[in-house]
């Protein structure tokens, strides 16, 4: 019955939009259920807020947003993508997570439907495709940006890296970090790994870093193993500086986590919900009002994607009656030339290969909250 009502609503909405003929159909896939659901729902919610704001603003551009569930599965993502294509999607938000997005990006390329993914960060997503763009940093860039940041701020000379060797995200960041470090005067004195199945005990990795005199430990990983590392280092009495990447975002919201463990942990992340600029404050307030939680980076990426589209479509003087293929050409032209300011960064630019450049924001955890380092 709910399904029927849903279909009816969609039909009515579709007819309404036809009648006015003014909405761009924008579609994306993401994990809305299952283990990775927090990422997909956040991106969808962020995008929805942006769509509602833009539609209310009377800029001449209106959007109709549709998200399909891919449960973080590449095969389901392609089915979801096809459903969106049948619906008449004109521009796409790709997929939220990397693996599914690698699959849908190939479809986007073949169908000439432009895609801007909020958060699929692996290099393979954009590789060899002229019409797939990213709003988030591509993984390798996070590694070099981190090395640069550590060297610029003179946090340490001797650095240890602990990374997860069965995870492309972690490996991608580690590779460029280790490659870039020596040229910046950073010495990688200890490099150790872990993998699924032996990700509980980090005493060996920490002892190795400690006995080699690492002043800073770089943690290119998600926050769950990082929380174990921090706890075990404290138990050992080892207190180096800690430096993480965007996967560390979320460590403070873990239920039951002792926030004092993360005191002084630094991380590079594009989005800070505590930032005081007007855009961020407005977005965070709206998100909290609707969903009763603080938006994470995925929500911010989804939000920015829709605004970037709004800017590009306005500048290209695009109209909703254009075909996806026509829009694709215009969007490639716009995205490779325009500069965008959003909640995940100022002066955001895109290279021809779809990778984004923006200034990463250094954050430090102080008294259980993120504070900007700059």
């Amino acid at each position: 019955m709910t399904k029927k009502i849903l279909t009816c609503t969609i039909l009515v909405l579709a007819m309404a939009s036809c009648a006015f003929g003014a909405a761009f159909k924008i579609g994306g896939t993401g994990p809305l259920t299952g283990g990775a659901a927090i990422y997909g729902t956040a991106a969808m919610r962020g995008a929805q807020i942006a769509v509602d704001e833009i539609n209310a603003m009377n800029t001449g551009i209106t959007f109709e947003l549709r998200y399909e569930d891919d449960t973080h599965d590449a095969e389901k993502a392609v089915n979801a993508y096809n459903a969106l294509k049948d619906w008449g999607m004109q521009v796409s938000l790709g997929s939220v997570t990397s693996k599914p997005c690698e699959a849908t990006a190939a479809e986007n390329f073949a169908d000439r439907i432009f895609a801007l993914t909020p958060s699929a960060s692996s290099a393979a997503v954009t590789d060899g495709k002229d019409n797939v763009f990213q709003m988030c940093f591509v993984d390798p860039n996070q590694g070099s940006a981190s090395a640069q940041y550590i060297a610029d701020k003179k946090f340490a000379k001797k650095v240890a890296v602990i990374w997860k060797n069965d995870d492309v995200y972690s490996k991608g960041i580690r590779d460029t970090f280790v490659e870039k470090a020596p040229s910046l005067g950073l010495e990688v004195v200890s490099e150790t790994t872990f993998a699924d199945g032996n990700d509980n005990d980090f005493s060996v990795q920490l002892t190795d870093a400690q006995k080699n005199g690492a002043e800073l430990v770089f943690l290119p990983m998600y926050y769950q193993p990082a929380s174990l590392i921090l706890a075990q280092a404290q138990a050992m009495g080892y207190a180096p500086k800690w430096f993480g990447v965007d996967g560390m975002d979320g460590i403070l919201t873990m239920e039951g986590f002792d926030k004092s463990l993360a005191e002084g942990v630094m991380l590079l992340t594009p989005f800070n919900a505590d930032a005081k600029d007007e855009k961020t404050v407005k977005f965070v307030a709206e998100y909290q009002k609707r969903f009763n939680e603080v938006p994470n980076q995925f929500a911010a990426d989804g939000y920015d994607c829709v605004y970037a589209y709004c800017q590009a479509l306005t500048q290209a003087k695009a109209t909703p009656d254009m075909s996806a293929e026509d829009l694709c050409g215009k969007m490639i032209e716009q995205f490779t030339t325009m500069t965008f300011n959003g909640v995940t960064g100022e002066n955001v630019k895109w290279a021809k290969n779809g990778e984004v450049t923006k200034d990463p924001k250094g954050m430090v955890i102080k008294d259980g909250a993120y504070v900007g380092l700059d």
């Binding site: 927090i38 150790t192 706890a231």
Partner: protein, 293 residues
């Protein structure tokens, strides 16, 4: 001194494997069935304990007790619904069912408790015994785990060798048909085995998550597989074997990480397992029994 520190890390990791392996090996020894859902019962136990202690401020030991009760009932229900109807089926069918139960429990946990990792409050704090002027430290939780392992081992061995119920269990393990003819209620005995195994799983869950304090719906799965390996290593079906196998697996894993390569540690662990099984096919303490055809 670093060597000794690694050794202690190995023991603490190994003691966790050992306590999980005890449950595996006990169910296998009696019911002759690999209960792949054991790791997920551990996860359920850990969640029950987490909610009792962190949300409702139970005394940690009451929390563990509550988890044991819940898991015991869970074990009985799972056995009743999923395994009992397959009593006469080939063992492969039961094995596949166990994998199904494992997925069922994981996904139910995902629905009930979501995928967000939770940080488990340690049941006895995070302190450590310091030896040699603090050069060596043994955490309280490691000590507790080893004591718990030893107590469980002794109690289980006594239970199985001395009591009437234990005798019934051994009889079922040797020959179900003959046991039934002797007036033993085979179904009830096997249910009891599962109940005890699942109760032990709750203790293992609380200790696992106290030592490595993040809790997710997949928390039990991989330690479960490692503990299964430990049980095979020590000789599956043998209770002291599970203890020894668990400790050795932990120590080998840490040494391989420290002295060979952190990337290859699992490969080394399993290479050692293969060598042991080539030399002693029944595992370290296992008895080689002739299967009657």
């Amino acid at each position: 001194m670093i060597f000794l520190n690694y050794f202690i890390s190995g023991i603490s990791l190994g003691s966790i494997y050992a306590i999980i392996a005890l449950g595996y090996t006990m169910v296998y020894g009696i019911a002759k069935m690999l209960n792949f859902a054991h790791g997920d019962v551990i996860m359920v136990g850990a969640y029950v304990c987490f909610y009792a202690v962190a949300r409702y401020n139970f005394n940690p030991f009451l929390g563990v007790l509550l988890a044991m009760i819940v898991c015991t009932f869970l074990g009985i229900i799972v056995e009743r619904l999923a395994y009992k109807p397959l009593r006469q089926a080939p063992s492969l069918a039961v094995l596949i069912t166990a994998i199904g139960v494992s997925y069922f429990l994981q996904n139910s946990a995902l629905l009930l408790w979501s995928s967000n990792p939770k940080v488990f409050p340690s049941i006895i704090g995070r302190g450590a015994f310091k030896l040699f002027d603090g050069e060596l430290s043994v955490s309280h939780i490691t000590a507790l785990t080893i004591i718990a392992c030893l107590v469980i081992m002794v109690v289980l061995t006594l239970f199985i060798s001395k009591t009437r119920l234990g005798k019934a269990m051994r009889a079922c393990s040797e020959d179900k048909g003959a046991a039934q003819l002797m007036g033993i209620n085979v179904n009830a005995t096997i249910s009891l085995t599962f109940a005890i195994g699942s109760g032990l799983a709750a203790i293992a869950g609380a200790l696992l998550c106290s030592a490595y304090p993040t809790l997710m719906p997949t928390t039990g799965a991989l330690p479960g597989i490692k503990a299964f390996t430990a049980a095979v290593f020590g000789g599956i079906g043998s209770i002291p074997g599970a203890f020894l196998g668990g400790l050795m697996l932990g120590v080998i894993e840490i040494f391989a990480k420290a002295y060979i390569s952190s990337q290859l540690s699992d490969a080394v662990v399993f290479a050692v397992l293969i060598i042991v099984l080539l030399v002693k096919p029944a595992g370290l303490l296992g008895r080689l029994t002739q299967e009657k055809v």
